[in-house]
């Protein structure tokens, strides 16, 4: 609009941590229905938007469909014999059909799986290299070296353990590695599935800081969490999934004051029995 003059307030483009190339785009999930096999409908008519540069939290109890939504975006439904039966998922101008993880990563959407899932038999460095394998322009943007520098900048502790087997790291370090591995693909939108799961409170705080930092570097974040306090503190906007549907949604601040979400924190009324 203003030619090449930098807009005030926009993040400086040449900052070392910023993802190069295209900036983030909007993720739009519209009327999404996902089924596993023929019988199980895991999501029904779910709509959700992660605006470019935003942090959105997705809350809900076990079995509400949070992970299924992430699978639909990252394209791993087929590994679970699931598929999109209605609705659409688009990132920017690209349509994601839920069955092609390669396309999702190429579009700039990268998921950190629940439970970390680092490659335990490989070294920290090899894990990071593996994270860069799906990147579109592998040698552009400074390639692996620049991405690795960014990851080690965020997680100095990983830099001290490059040659160590990932399986021997602590839980927190593994979560750092899982996030770092995803960052190696220069995501424009990072999907985080329960990053605080099973971590000590101090480490949860550390992970929250890192998510904030990644966001400040220009990456949008969709954060799935059961730790609603952490998620709502980080997010601008939040959705609550209830048995496959969006129950509540709104600005994170508003939701964190609402009674229903309060009950969700405490686990009352949501889980039957």
């Amino acid at each position: 609009m203003f030619g090449f003059r930098a807009r005030p307030g926009a993040p400086p483009p040449s900052r070392s941590g910023a993802p190069p190339g295209d900036g983030p785009a909007d993720l739009r999930v519209d009327g999404l229905q996902v089924r596993y096999g023929r019988a199980v409908t895991a999501l029904d008519d779910v709509s959700l938007t992660v605006p470019a540069g935003g942090v959105v939290a997705l809350l809900g109890s076990n079995g509400a469909g949070k992970t299924t939504l992430l699978r639909a975006v990252s394209g791993t439904l087929r590994l679970y014999r699931g598929g999109v039966t209605a609705g659409t998922v688009t990132y920017g101008d690209r349509s994601l059909d839920g069955t092609d993880p390669v396309a999702a990563v190429r579009a700039g959407v990268v998921q950190v799986p629940e439970g970390r899932r680092v490659f335990g038999g490989m070294t920290v460095d090899e894990n990071l290299r593996a994270g860069g394998l799906g990147r579109v322009r592998r040698d552009a943007d400074g390639g692996n070296a620049a991405a690795r520098e960014r990851v080690y900048g965020l997680f100095p502790r990983l830099a001290e353990r490059t040659g160590q087997r990932a399986g021997l790291l602590s839980g927190g370090e593994q979560q750092m590695l899982a996030i770092g591995r995803a960052l190696m693909a220069w995501p424009r939108l990072l999907l985080l599935d329960e990053p605080s799961l099973g971590l000590a409170p101090l480490m949860v705080e550390r992970i929250a800081e890192v998510v904030r930092e990644i966001h400040a570097q220009g990456t949008s974040v969709l954060l799935v969490e059961q730790n609603a306090a952490m998620a709502l503190a980080l997010a601008d906007h939040a959705y609550v999934l209830e048995v496959g549907r969006v129950g509540l949604s709104g600005p994170a601040e508003e939701l964190s004051r609402s009674d229903e979400v309060g009950r969700l924190y405490l686990g009352e009324g949501v889980r039957a029995g």
């Binding site: 390669v102 990563v105 998921q111 680092v118 799906g134």
Partner: protein
């Protein structure tokens, strides 16, 4: 002393041929969780092509065609037969490879009949004297080429993007998919490589002092199979160690046959299985295997 050296060289040559085939087993198993029982027919296919073609286009070109065509055949088996099926059903896919093996072997056996085909290798029946023993040149070529090829495969495993992708996919398919690693392409490449290795093994298996390619040559895979298993099935170095162990044991059993006659004749043929069973009794996951490897 000379006899020991002679037997050792024989055993190493034999072991390195087993290693080529066993590596193929391991690579395919890592990439797709499938035991490829069609490996023997791949070997026979590559050998047959080389044997038929070498008089027309020369040895090296025939070998290249044989190796490439076998790689394509193996890749086609993966793409055309296995791809549409549920990749998590390893048992079904494994049984399917037995069917593929029978089909290919039957057709090739019909063509070969009772013939003994030469692959036209340039070493013929030349021998060299080496430290007091005479060694066929073909055996030396076998060891040298196998060392180079296996070294290249190991390097590819460790350093190349393909190798990294394969190891990542073998550890955690979903996590690898989330990295944007194209799993099905990695898998097809693994099949191709295993096919190429099998075709190369056919050459050394049929060179002097072996009589040549016959319709039963593919059964060698049945000896590389215990080698891969005792190595741990998911470990390429394990497959190499297992192959050498079995090759040397077989050569020893054959070389000292007269001393071992108490066990009856043909102990060399049984030796691979005896070694495998002994190793598995002591180390159930194989020499260098991991626990998940015993799922088939």
């Amino acid at each position: 002393m000379n006899q020991v050296l002679d037997i050792l060289i024989n055993g190493l040559a034999l072991g390195s041929v087993y290693a080529l085939v066993a590596l193929g087993f391991v690579i395919i198993f890592k990439a797709s969780g499938v035991m490829n029982f069609a490996q023997g027919s791949m070997l026979l296919f590559g050998g047959y092509l080389t044997a038929v073609l070498h008089e027309h286009i020369g040895f090296l070109a025939a070998l290249a065609v044989g190796v490439l065509a076998t790689a394509v055949l193996a890749g086609a088996v993966d793409r055309l037969l296995l791809r549409g099926l549920d990749p998590s059903q390893h048992h079904i896919l494994t049984i399917l490879t037995i069917g593929v093996d029978i089909l290919i072997v039957t057709e090739l056996a019909r063509r070969i009949g009772g013939d003994l085909l030469s692959l036209g290798d340039p070493w013929g029946n030349e021998v060299v004297a080496l430290g007091g023993v005479t060694v066929p040149v073909s055996r030396i070529a076998c060891i040298v080429v196998s060392v180079l090829v296996i070294g290249a495969v190991f390097a590819a495993f460790r350093y190349s993007s393909w190798g990294l992708s394969l190891r990542a996919a073998a550890e955690d398919r979903e996590a690898a998919a989330l990295m944007g690693i194209p799993l099905s392409r990695i898998r097809t490449l693994a099949w191709c490589l295993a096919g190429a290795l099998a075709a190369l093994a056919a050459l050394f298996l049929t060179a002097f002092p072996a009589p040549g390619l016959e319709r039963t040559t593919g059964q060698i895979a049945l000896k590389a199979f215990p080698a891969a298993i005792l190595g741990g099935m998911t470990s390429p170095p394990g497959a190499l160690v297992g192959s050498l162990l079995i090759g040397v044991t077989e050569a020893l059993a054959a070389g000292y046959q007269s001393e071992l006659s108490g066990f009856g004749r043909g102990l060399g043929d049984v030796a691979p299985y005896l070694v495998m069973i002994t190793v598995l009794l002591i180390r159930p996951h194989g020499l260098l295997g991991t626990k998940e490897a015993v799922r088939v």
